[in-house]
């Protein structure tokens, strides 16, 4: 048992903290306030972060990346999110798919896409699963209905696949250069069995992005539609050439679900750290009835609860990051993601309560943290996200 961070971990953590304090935090509220959801992205900031290594943090050494472990990645996500949750996600979103390229793509695909990714500070990636009528059906496919789930159709024509349909809520859809896209290649089979994953570069013929979604939180982080109208994807861009999804569902698939679970939890941790700091500063500096708020029992109880939950989350996040590094498969990644929902929402709410108690004026930072925190509900903590996790556990139990 050892909670010590090694030098590499410390170094990346410190670097992320500096970048968050010097570069992210100063622009966070202004970016959040931009009304057009397609205009919130800040390329200058992103390029600076990319040059510092945050875009390519998860790329293995053999492909020219820093080859950081999951613990480092968790620490960096938390530090960046302490500056701004959505900006942190804008970086880590790319790690997910660089994990996936590294673990599931052919050498030729790796060569084609990873090297392009490494070379270009504006190369961001995304993955398309959700569709207008298939969100939770993909995550929790019903056993009794093969039609349920995604509808995006992929038909093979010689060495090409023709894709038709659309995806929605897709991260980076309007700015990304490469997408992983799940499509239904065999409509007679269930989502689990009849789906193929494709690598779809932005310049694919018949493929474009559509409307950018206007979210109430995570404003910086862009989600948009992907539209496929007879889009032509070469067979060479099929992921997992053996066909089917088989190997991608295992615990091994840290590039997919499991990393995503940790990602949300680590990001939430950063938001909670920011809320705790903000609340403590307020409690020690603002007075009521001539005394600092921190002297009041009800304020103390709130501060205690925020910090208690945040430290419990930190402990669990670091454990799960370590488990990922050990390639241990468990329900913990999902549970820590569920838990992070409860924690981020309660902690940001308490912070808002403390800031809101003394008058009519909303604190913009406290309000933003709450809005960002509500994003967790459907990504990490609604009942679908919770049942998905526990069903693994129930299945495994004797």
């Amino acid at each position: 048992m050892d909670f010590t961070l090694n030098d590499q971990q410390h170094e990346w953590q410190a670097k992320a903290r500096r970048f968050a304090e010097d570069d992210i935090r100063p622009v966070s509220l202004a970016r959040d306030r931009i009304l057009d959801p397609a205009q919130t992205w800040d390329w200058d900031l992103f390029k600076k972060g990319s040059r510092l290594g945050f875009r390519t943090l998860a790329v293995p050494k053999e492909y020219g990346g820093p080859g950081t472990d999951f613990v480092t990645q968790a620490l960096v996500m938390a530090e960046l999110a302490r500056g701004d949750s959505a900006i942190s996600k804008a970086f880590s979103q790319n790690w997910k798919w660089s994990h996936l390229i590294a673990s599931a793509c052919t050498p030729e695909q790796k060569q084609r896409f990873l090297s392009a990714f490494m070379a270009d500070d504006t190369f961001v990636m995304g993955k398309g699963i959700t569709e207008p009528n298939a969100g939770s059906d993909n995550r929790l496919p019903p056993e009794d209905d093969v039609r349920a789930g995604m509808r995006l159709k992929a038909e093979r024509k010689g060495e090409e696949w023709i894709l038709n349909g659309e995806k929605c809520f897709i991260a980076n859809a309007n700015i990304g250069k490469l997408f992983f896209v799940d499509a239904r290649s065999d409509p007679s089979k269930s989502v689990k069995e009849g789906v193929t994953m494709f690598l779809v570069p932005r310049d694919t013929p018949g493929f474009r992005s559509g409307k950018v979604f206007n979210k109430n939180g995570w404003r910086f982080y862009q989600n948009a539609e992907l539209i496929f109208e007879n889009a032509r994807v070469p067979q060479a861009n099929v992921v997992d050439q053996s066909g089917g999804h088989g190997n991608l569902d295992k615990g091994e698939r840290t590039g997919g679900d499991l990393f995503g679970d940790l990602e949300l939890a680590a990001n939430a941790l950063g938001v909670c750290m920011s809320a705790c700091e903000s609340a403590m500063t307020l409690a020690k500096s603002r007075t009521q009835g001539g005394k600092p708020l921190a002297e009041q029992q009800s304020v103390q109880l709130k501060l205690g609860r925020m910090n208690m939950l945040t430290e419990a989350l930190r402990s669990y996040v670091l454990r799960v990051a370590w488990e990922h590094d050990q390639k241990l498969a468990s329900a913990n990644a999902g549970f820590v993601m569920n838990f992070s929902t409860d924690v981020i929402q309660e902690v940001t709410q308490i912070n808002m309560d403390l800031h809101g108690a003394a008058g009519f004026t909303m604190d913009a930072h406290a309000a933003k943290l709450v809005r960002d925190g509500i994003i967790w509900t459907h990504l990490a903590g609604d009942n679908v996200q919770r049942m998905k996790v526990v069903r693994r556990l129930v299945k495994a139990a004797k």
Partner: protein
């Protein structure tokens, strides 16, 4: 005799307002700019139509041209309005309650004759009470259960000129309805030698009074619904007979609950907002299919909806009780209802309950629940505003606790 039947008039006005909301308020409320909470200002035409239906002067006595609604009826209407749009509701409810308080209860007949035409002349004009001053602290907080006076000091001052007029100088802040008001009731310090909290009178200031400067506050940074403004008085002159009630003994001390009716009405608006969120979720759950079944048929969603229904119904039930008791205070002495600060109970309970309802409703909507294109995210935001506006749950609980301990400030 215990009886929960509503009167025919109450049922009718509820239907009428509900229809008005469906036809006139909802279409406006779901416009994109309003969805984004960029501009939550109540449209003039909606206020005008509502006023012509009598909603602006709902609580004003029939003798003076109002509908003479009691506290319960006011709550029923407030809920309906807020289910459509809480900002519209906030403006109308404030004026309605003040019309009763000022005209029916506090003005002299001469004042009534003088000011009623101001209100009647323009259907879009409202009433305001300027109770809050910059920097004043209305929280119980650190002073919980300590024998210190809590009435905030009134700094805004008025002096009499030799001609008998009042000259007002000072500032008020976060005054609801001030930019729309025909008449503003302003507590002012008239005895400069009196200790803090005493020597306060209330003056009635028409909106055209010279030296009164009203500046609307930006809506999106505030913990309130409706419109609020800062008011500055610079040698603002009003005639001597604009004094409301006794000199040096204001009937509208800061923090007054508008004769017990204000808090239940805010709580009723809160319930209305919660109902909007709940009904949207219920409708959606009956349409959206996942796992080959409508999601309402899933245990997890069913349980969530049931929980929302329980919270809303208990909240509404408490609000109505508090409203009825506000009009029937003798029922406490007669021991039909408990001797508790019921308005505070209802306010705290409904704010917490509706906050949970709104979050659960957003959960039912999945990813759509956070999109600014549909109202759900705004319900969540509005629920947060109710949680903090006026009296926070924390503050309310400390006030209740003092009452439970039968603590009375000297």
């Amino acid at each position: 005799m215990y009886d929960l039947h509503l009167s025919a008039e109450q049922l009718e006005i509820r239907d009428t307002v509900r229809e008005f909301v469906a036809n006139e308020i909802r279409p406006m409320a779901i416009k994109p700019a309003r969805m984004e909470a960029l501009d939550r200002r109540p449209p003039h035409d909606v206020l005008l139509k509502a006023s012509r239906m009598g909603l602006r002067t709902l609580a004003l006595s029939e003798a003076l041209g109002g509908a003479g609604a009691d506290a319960l009826t006011s709550c029923i209407v407030a809920e309906e309005l807020a289910a459509g749009d809480p900002d519209v509701a906030a403006v109308l409810v404030e004026t309605s309650l003040l019309s009763h308080l000022l005209f029916d209860r506090l003005m002299t007949p001469a004042q009534r004759d003088r000011f009623l035409p101001l209100l009647a002349a323009d259907d879009s004009s409202q009433l305001a009470l300027a109770s809050h001053e910059p920097g004043s602290d209305t929280e119980l907080g650190i002073n919980y259960h300590r024998s210190v006076p809590l009435a905030p000091a009134v700094q805004c001052a008025a002096t009499r000129t030799p001609s008998g007029d009042w000259l007002i100088n000072g500032a008020k802040t976060f005054v609801p309805n001030a930019t729309l008001a025909a008449l503003v009731a302003v507590p002012v310090k008239t005895d400069s030698k009196a200790p803090a909290g005493q020597g306060v009178s209330t003056l009635l200031v028409p909106n055209n009074a010279p030296g009164m400067i009203v500046r609307e506050l930006e809506q999106n940074a505030g913990w309130y619904h409706g419109l609020r403004a800062d008011i500055t008085f610079e040698d603002c002159r009003v005639p001597g007979d604009h004094l409301l009630g006794e000199e040096g003994n204001s009937p509208l001390a800061a923090g007054i609950e508008l004769a017990g009716r204000s808090i239940p009405a805010v709580a009723a608006m809160n319930v209305g907002l919660g109902r909007a969120a709940y009904e949207a979720a219920l409708d959606y759950a009956g349409i959206r299919v996942q796992g080959a079944r409508r999601i309402i048929e899933h245990q997890a969603i069913g349980t969530l909806l049931a929980d929302m229904a329980i919270r809303l119904e208990t909240a509404r039930t408490m609000v109505w009780k508090a409203a009825w008791v506000a009009d029937n205070p003798a029922a406490v002495a007669q021991r039909s209802v408990a001797d508790l600060p019921l308005t505070t109970l209802a306010r705290v309970y409904s704010a917490e309950a509706v906050h949970r309802v709104a979050l659960a409703a957003a959960e039912v909507f999945g990813g759509m629940g956070v999109m600014r294109d549909i109202p759900m995210h705004k319900y969540v935001q509005d629920a947060l505003i109710f949680l903090h506006s006026g009296m926070s749950p924390d503050d309310g609980k400390l006030r209740i606790a003092e009452a439970l301990a039968e603590f009375r400030r000297a």
